[in-house]
Amino acid sequence: MSSSTQTVAGVGTATPRTMRRKSPRGGGLEKPSWLARIVVAILCFLWIVPVIGLFLTSFRPLDDANTSGWWTLFWTPSAWGRMNLDNYETAITEANLGTAFVNSLAITLPATFIPILIAAFAAYAFTFMEFPGRNVLFLAVVSLLVVPNYIAFVPILKIYGDYQLTGTFPAVWLAHVGFGMSLAIYILRNHMATLPKSVIESAKIDGASHFQIFFRLVLPMSVPALAAFAIFQFLWVWNDLLVALVFIGPGESAPITVAVRNNLMGQAGAGQELITAGGFLTMVLPIVVFLAMQRYFIRGLTAGAVKG
């Protein structure tokens, strides 16, 4: 690579060991240029600065936060002394975050899993099955993406009222199933279209039913898209306020968002300092989920399947 190594040719003294270098060649893309690194570094910096601001602010007493920028902390060590966990303490106790956390989980997990399952089935049908009306039905999904879910609150609540569903977890699950469905189908079908068709054919030959093909082949091969959508749905449900407020309401089943909003925020935007702390607490789990899901974004999941 360098000019010095070019001349080594006949000499043969250069020990291979010294030349040995680890590079991800062959598998992934080429080594990053400096440009790539710098661009990523800059973007990351820009992206994280506001978060750091939020993070530091969450430890500051309100008066401090209101009188000086968080970045002044870096050169005013005296302000460090005033930082404390009060905001967190208050947030946790006032908002009853423990219960709310459990509620959020109980809402979010099924509200993430169920729509994925349902949408994956539908996406499978759209991708691997032939049936009249296929395209039309799929396009209907696309157009429904634009419908804001608020319009559904009143009619759904009416029906829920008739069946005593309001305030129960399944009420929110189902609502999220409905509201997340079009995006899920859209993402998953567009991904499944990229899977190697002949692998599916091969499974058909092997006597697998659609059901088996779905569970044994398509799902495992769609892992990246499933993970991607799972992250979104998880986040969306986790951070959702309105759906939970309307269908569960405040109270003992309320998820974190509702609890934080209703127990911490006062009139006219009071309680901002608790929001920073509460916000950070609610962020923890989504980040963990993201980190956990990240390993499903694997290169070459379908490598080796076909030639051609």
Partner: protein, 326 residues
């Protein structure tokens, strides 16, 4: 504790029920005579999805169309008055223009930046890749109330002379200028752009995750072949990778486009449309929840649905093209 267990049980039952549902549907199809099984099965597979959609979106959407021809309390018929009122109002026209601006800028930038992050991070060592992606993703995990606070700390304005707690003004004043009331600067839609920055900040992670998944799915063979063919990394990216993930790019673009059409939280939290930053989503939200004008809100949704027609049209064409390769 009991609560936790109760919650756990519901979760398990709920998820279990979903799986059982499909198992039953599948069995149902299988007891049918052969020909019917294959005719019906696709429909059984999409049935739950469409039941959910029909119940939670289609039915309300139809109702919305009806409401758009009724008065604010959905009692009497008013014809197309809601539409004419809206479209003739200067404020709404401005709102449309603003929304259009958002639609023009945000999806494009989202795709470009998301792609850039996805592809550049992809080339870092796994440790850095993970770290940088997590950072880009971070904002997605923040709820919108939190995001409002975060960006409050960036755009905040204090009168000259006082300590600035907004980052941008701190920089501006440190450079010796007067602080700027950022969100009030509607010249060249600066404030709208600043709000877009916020949305981008919050949303690039989404594009990155989807595109990253797509990039990882590009057959390594073809990249190797391109390398052998003497393509530079840039050429590989544009000539080999991008065309193969085009479907995903379109997906991300359309999803962002549509979500921008109904964006409201960013605007609502930061300005609620003041200083000419209003967008359709915010207008809808206010019509529905502040003005309690169901009619106007409904007609906004109908307009939105109409606006997706070109998008659907593109999708149709995209499918056709996709299938023509088959």
């Amino acid at each position: 504790m009991i609560k936790v267990i109760a919650a756990l049980v519901t979760v398990v039952v709920g998820i279990g029920a979903a799986i059982v549902l499909y198992w039953v549907l599948n069995k149902l199809a299988e007891v049918l005579p052969g020909k019917w099984e294959h005719r019906l099965k696709p429909y059984l597979y999409i049935l739950p999805a469409y039941a959910a959609l029909a119940f939670y979106l289609v039915y309300p959407a139809i109702q919305t169309v009806v409401y758009s021809f009724k008065d604010s309390a959905s009692q009497g018929w008013v014809g197309i008055e809601n539409y004419t009122d809206l479209l003739s109002s200067e404020g709404f026209q401005q709102t449309l223009i603003n929304t259009f601006l958002w639609m023009l800028v945000v999806p494009f930038v989202t795709v470009v930046l998301g792609l850039a992050v996805a592809v550049l991070a992809d080339r870092l060592t796994p440790k850095f890749e993970k770290a940088s992606k997590t950072i880009i993703f971070l904002p997605m995990a923040i709820s919108f109330v939190g995001a409002g606070t975060v960006w409050g700390l960036v755009y905040d304005y204090r009168p000259p002379g006082r300590d600035q707690i907004g980052l941008q003004n701190a920089i501006v004043t440190a450079l010796g200028f007067d602080p700027i009331a950022w969100l009030d600067k509607s010249d060249f839609h600066l404030n709208s752009f600043l709000l877009m920055v916020m949305l981008l900040w919050a949303q690039i992670g989404f594009a990155m995750v989807l595109l990253s998944a797509a990039i990882k799915g590009v057959p390594v063979d073809t990249i190797e072949a391109a390398r052998i063919d003497g393509a530079t990394e840039r050429q590989i990216f544009f000539s080999v990778v991008v065309p193969q993930i085009w479907g995903s790019i379109v997906t991300v673009f359309i999803i962002t486009l549509i979500s921008v059409m109904k964006v409201f939280d960013v605007v609502y939290v930061m300005t609620n449309g003041r200083a000419n930053t209003n967008v359709i989503g915010n207008e809808f939200f206010n019509q529905l929840f502040t003005n309690f004008n169901t009619g106007a809100a409904a007609s906004i949704v109908v307009l939105l649905m109409l606006a997706t027609i070109p998008i659907m049209w593109y999708q149709v064409r995209h499918f056709r093209r996709e299938e023509s390769l088959a």
